[in-house]
């Protein structure tokens, strides 16, 4: 059998409700005059906090070669299964022997968890702080290798995480040549 435990016995004034109503009205009125927190987007831009995870980019070495070696660790780590890579031998004589022929990310499926950048052994994929990349069609939100490298060109002056190897070129990092 259920027992009703009354923790609070309303007084006459409570039962009249009018004071409570007035209190409520006072609250909304207070907010009416408060400072508004809206950011007027195209005019003002939201500045994300450090560590914000936005659009991906594919990093390059200073000599212009793609860092990614198409090892597919990112796509294996991706919980949304939205990275699709087709690997192939790289076109460069020196440097890494493997590179992505195709590298597609389905931004519609991506949940921006950042697992891909954590999994990447080459520090090749990285999430930038770009958040406003909405588009009109689904197809436009499938970003390919050129797109990702384009994002890198846009944002290459920013280091989103500390990169110990940032200064070195690809040759110094490889031990073998194919």
């Amino acid at each position: 059998m259920a027992t009703i435990v009354k923790s609070y016995e309303p007084t006459f004034w409570d039962r009249l409700y009018l004071p409570a109503l007035a209190k409520g009205l006072a609250v909304t009125l207070k907010h009416f005059f408060r400072k508004k927190i809206t950011i007027q987007y195209p005019d003002e831009k939201y500045v994300p906090p450090d560590g914000y995870r936005g659009l991906h980019r594919l990093n390059k070495y200073p000599d212009g070669k793609i860092r990614c070696v198409a090892c597919e660790m990112c796509s294996a780590a991706c919980p949304a299964d939205c990275i699709h890579i087709i690997p192939g031998p790289s076109p460069w004589e020196d440097g890494k022997e493997r590179f992505p022929v195709r590298f597609d990310i389905d931004l519609l499926r991506c949940i921006f968890c950042g697992f891909c950048e954590m999994a990447c052994p080459e520090e090749a994929i990285e999430l930038t702080e770009i958040y406003d990349f909405s588009n009109y069609t689904r197809d436009d939100l499938l970003i390919d290798k050129e797109g990702l490298l384009g994002v890198y060109e846009l944002t290459k002056d920013t280091n989103y995480y500390s990169r110990p190897n940032a200064g070195q070129d690809s040759e110094a990092l490889t031990s073998d040549k194919f």
């Binding site: 009205l25 909304t28 009125l29 907010h31 009416f32 508004k36 809206t38």
Partner: protein, 344 residues
């Protein structure tokens, strides 16, 4: 009636009509801005200065939208319903005095479209007709949500019409007339001669009932989005939806004006005798009327964005078990008091 009288009437109708419509437009804008402000947002501020032209943009959007008539509706009634709601809403304003008297072309022109001797009854009658619009819209739409919405509104209106009517009775008792003009004149003089101070209980009952009558939160059970999608207007789109929308706001304007008339001295400016001040008095009286009405309109919005919706059984309980007895007691007390004083 001579020709000049006819012209004056026509001008008054035109003025009142366009003023009401203008207020409706402003209310649409105000509602969005005020609600945004109360929620820490900015609200529409892009169309025109401070977003003032937003209602026009909204109107254009409504006009351009596809006008969908669902397949299974009862077409004549479906088409008629919005008009049945809008027309009474606009007609109500006819008997409300919005200023004192001015002298035009050598005649006394009262600032009121029609001074009916059954003014109050006329208003009560029209608001009751308005509910047909809702019920028929709900029924004709052939949708369960619409139907429930329509049914709720009819039950709600009956419940609150009673309390409202009874609360008005005490005001009528004080003024001794059904004429709104007389009621306003009765409240002339000091601030304390306003009915709100003579009849605070009646005022509260009336206010609550008015929110219920206009289907505004916290009594918007008829269009409770969470349960009924859109209530009676679920199946309406485009301009027909806009008509419902306009009617709701027009009702609000009328209700605010009526509240002012019945309880806040109408166009009365306290401590001034407007009728004896000529044109200046008339302008002051109109201004005072507008200001008071504006406040009540603001109150409508304010309340909407403050209180949550009632549950249906709570609504009925409040109507029948609290408001109605309270209104009855109030009448007895007022009547008893009046009898006693007149006997003396």
């Amino acid at each position: 009636m001579d020709f000049l009288g006819f012209v004056i009437i026509c001008v008054k109708v035109l003025v009142v009509f366009s003023a009401t419509m203008l207020t409706v437009l402003m209310m649409v804008y105000a509602e969005r801005r005020v609600s945004a402000f109360m929620q820490g947002r900015l609200g529409p501020n892009r169309v025109g200065p401070q977003g003032l032209l937003q209602p026009i943009a909204d109107g254009i959007k409504f006009l351009m939208k596809e006008d969908i008539i669902p397949a299974e509706v009862n077409k004549p009634i479906y088409l008629l319903a919005p008009a049945m709601l809008l027309i009474p809403a606009l007609m109500t304003f006819a008997v409300i005095p919005f200023g004192s008297t001015i002298t035009l072309f050598g005649r006394e022109v009262p600032l009121q479209v029609a001074d009916l001797n059954v003014g109050i009854l006329y208003i009560l009658a029209l608001t009751s007709i308005g509910v047909y619009g809702l019920v028929l819209a709900g029924w004709a739409s052939n949708s369960k949500y619409s139907l429930i919405g329509g049914l709720r509104s009819s039950a709600q209106l009956i419940s609150y019409e009673l309390a409202m009517g009874l609360s008005v009775v005490s005001v009528i008792l004080l003024a001794g007339s059904l004429k709104l003009n007389v009621i306003v004149e009765d409240q002339q003089g000091y601030l304390l001669s306003w009915n709100v101070f003579k009849q605070p209980v009646a005022f509260l009952i009336f206010l609550v009932a008015v929110y219920a009558e206009t289907n505004r939160l916290p009594f918007d059970l008829t269009e409770a989005e969470q349960e009924l999608v859109g209530g009676y207007h679920t199946e309406y789109s485009s301009m027909k939806f806009a008509m419902f929308f306009t009617a709701e706001y027009a009702n609000m304007v009328t209700a605010a004006a009526l509240t002012v008339t019945l309880f806040f001295g109408g166009w009365d400016v306290p401590l001034l005798n407007e009728t004896s001040m000529g044109a200046l008095g008339a302008i002051l009286s109109v201004l005072s009327f507008i200001l008071k009405t504006a406040f009540f309109l603001f109150l409508f919005i304010w309340v909407r964005w403050t209180f949550p919706r009632f549950r249906y059984d709570q609504l009925m309980k409040l109507g029948w078990k609290v408001m109605l007895p309270l209104a009855l007691i109030n009448i007895f007390v007022t009547g008893g008091y009046l009898t006693l004083t007149s006997l003396r």
